[in-house]
Symmetry: C2
Subunit: 239 residues, 2 copies
Amino acid sequence: MKINVLFSPLFADELYFTGRTSVVIDVLRASSTIVTALTNGAREIIPVGTVEFAVKVSGGMFGGQTLLGGERNTKKIEGFALGNSPLEYTPEVVNNKSIVFFTTNGSKAIVKAKFSTNLYVCSFLNLPSITNKIAGMNQDVVIICSGRANNFSLEDSVCAGRLVAELLKLNENAELTETASAAVSLNKSYGKTISKMLAQTEHGKLLLENGFADDVKYCSKYGTLEAVPAFNSGVIKLL
Amino acid sequence: MKINVLFSPLFADELYFTGRTSVVIDVLRASSTIVTALTNGAREIIPVGTVEFAVKVSGGMFGGQTLLGGERNTKKIEGFALGNSPLEYTPEVVNNKSIVFFTTNGSKAIVKAKFSTNLYVCSFLNLPSITNKIAGMNQDVVIICSGRANNFSLEDSVCAGRLVAELLKLNENAELTETASAAVSLNKSYGKTISKMLAQTEHGKLLLENGFADDVKYCSKYGTLEAVPAFNSGVIKLL
């Protein structure tokens, strides 16, 4: 089992993912929101790479069954029912709904990795469940940090490092690429108190400034959800 | 003074560098080779972004005064006088020569950052001199890791982290971006014994397999050269 980490989706092209087992991370907030929405009864999440495509896809679906969700520059998009706050995706709101989902980083990273044979969505919330799933498969895995505007983001890299560290506990023979080792080291330096780390990151600070302190706190919870969201044929559903 | 680090040249476009003070790092081996060649008497280094351009540029220059140097996939390029081993760039070979220089990562990163107002080349060899130069300017600085094939590379990131850490010693009020902090943390984890770190990296291993053990050892020396190579109007010269 070989474990690789990409600190940005820029570090691979779409075809790189063909046949691979991949895990996409966007701690603040797309992957946390996806895990939460599916746990709370959403039927499926349809990640899209552009706002225009979100509108187009949802237009062809049954009214009332579909919600548009996501953000641009941390803010809800005009005409969308939901933003990118996981706390909005309550059972009352999302139960049995299909959610067409666009975000600046996370949904685009998932779309980029769409040719993966297996593609899972991970946040701190469901990290232990993803660890068990990946360890059980005993295949090579690539962990993609969605990052910020295609650049490095500390919170995704630390989360990736935590996932690698947890995988190593279950399979000490796992082979790490240099980037996977670096991620483990970043988790060691920054990952002790997740809430503190998130509040110190550039993205965390921006969310705090925009009134999303509860989101940052929520996204720092570790292992509170058991969902294993899996992408297949264009939609993300629970395994 | 704000310090930023880019873990890959992919994280910025050419115009990003306009007006900035930048430092390019490619420990294995381009920046180590440039520092060495200039220390040993080369008149100037002309970094180029493609092999074709290297041949074109050198064709228009005086014969005997110009050398073609560099590598593709760690190997010397056919028709080039020199490879990318710093040990080839001896005083006897390079004295008073203009060297047209192409490498897979480093020379391309320098060319990408060409709109910088100030652009310096740093390796472990001359890191203390670069530290003093940058600290003395007391301006914002961006440190570019050349990386490997535009991806993350541990050795460049650790070297960047060391540079940030040394700058912090001279200016404790310097403000770090999240990536600069992460680089400092990587230097703390991996930078204690540079030679050991380099030998463990993927690029280091590749060089060892290809018979360049002496290069890896040489590039791990810290502060042995005082050169401050500066890029201006297309050429790199000593300040």
